[in-house]
Point group: C2
Chain length 218, copies 2
């Protein structure tokens, strides 16, 4: 259908893209029609060349002096990211973090819909959290299979992560968003995204320390 396969998008670009998306959607809501790479760059304190290259990757065409038509840019970003195609997901583990994600409104902005939540706590099963039904974990594999779910979010305790992953895989899931620190053993055809809080924290702490060090020296 499209040239998605041919278009090789670097991971750092994928990470920045939703930020652009969120920003230009806001601009559109404010009644603006055009935006330049320069302007986007200034907003995020990014290098303007970086943004120019990133936007070029979407395939949107800009006009010198004017920039990009926002509505076209939004479409192209959605297209590039594949949003609206793999949008129904399940979430397993309705603890604090799971509940938070169930209530996270940002997902709707990004075309993601959590279809159902799962837990093994009988007190939770049958209830609703943020309007999402909580089902027994015994139904996980079957529901994934029947609904053709492609993405599963794991927010259970670390010790249960692998067994949940196995059930998701049995149900035909092709990608797992893993919020636990457990390294999952998965078939080659299943993708995993490791959401490491500690990793982000490590980066932040190091950034701070290097700024503090800079000051000491001067």
């Amino acid at each position: 259908m499209s040239d998605d396969v041919l278009r090789k998008v670097p991971i750092p670009v994928l990470r920045r893209m939703p930020q652009y998306y969120y920003y230009v959607k806001q601009l559109l809501a404010d009644g603006e029609t055009h935006v330049s790479a320069t302007r986007v760059a200034e907003h995020f304190y990014f290098d303007s060349i970086t943004v120019r290259k990133d936007l070029a990757l979407t395939g949107a065409k800009g006009k010198p002096k004017k920039g990009f038509v926002i509505s076209e840019l939004i479409e192209k970003i959605e297209d590039l990211l594949g949003w609206g195609e793999l949008d129904q997901v399940v979430l397993v583990g309705c603890g604090d973090l799971g509940s938070a994600l169930l209530g996270y409104e940002g997902f709707a902005d990004y075309g993601l819909e959590i279809l159902a939540a799962f837990d093994n706590d009988p007190d939770k099963v049958g209830t609703k959290i943020h309007d999402k039904a909580v089902l027994s974990i015994d139904k996980l594999t079957d529901l994934c299979y029947r609904m053709q779910i492609k993405i599963g979010i794991i927010t259970v305790p670390a010790s249960a992560a692998q067994s949940v992953a196995d059930r998701l895989v049995s149900g035909g899931v092709r990608g797992i968003w893993n919020f636990t620190p457990t390294a999952l053993k998965l078939p080659k055809n299943v993708a995993v995204q490791q959401q490491s809080m500690a990793g982000s924290l490590a980066v932040l702490v190091k950034k701070i320390k290097s700024k503090l060090d800079e000051e000491e020296q001067s």
Copy 2:
């Protein structure tokens, strides 16, 4: 004190380091004394050369055939990441995500302590969430200043993020962990870590699509 300043650690390494840390701590708890880079690599399905280089960066010395002494490795990783030095933080915004982070036990493993939480909802102020006191946001700047807090976590709605950041900066905070999609305007000496859920999701969706594409072709 140490050669922290001289040691230039690539960001990808910083992100992997806490994973190693978590794993080798587990091994230690299981009664093991040594671990090789090869073994760590196999556990995470990483390239063994990558792990070898990463571990070398910590400054820990390994012995051929045996590997590294786990207890030494743990110390070196803590040292490299600067954990235990900037460990008291505040969290602003006690919605679902904020509450989840307040209850996240992983932080303790990584030497992070959330000292207090803040919110502007009178119904929440004065209560406790996961044993953390919720204070009025009016006290934010002052408390950061008095307690010499260096890191603030922002989990408020996107529209309030900038004003919260301003208060944190006034209180002397040097790093902000921003869970909102708002691009924050900050002084040059304040570090920011953008925690973009959407960015991670974008990476996962792309990984899945490329795996699906691979199959189609064969």
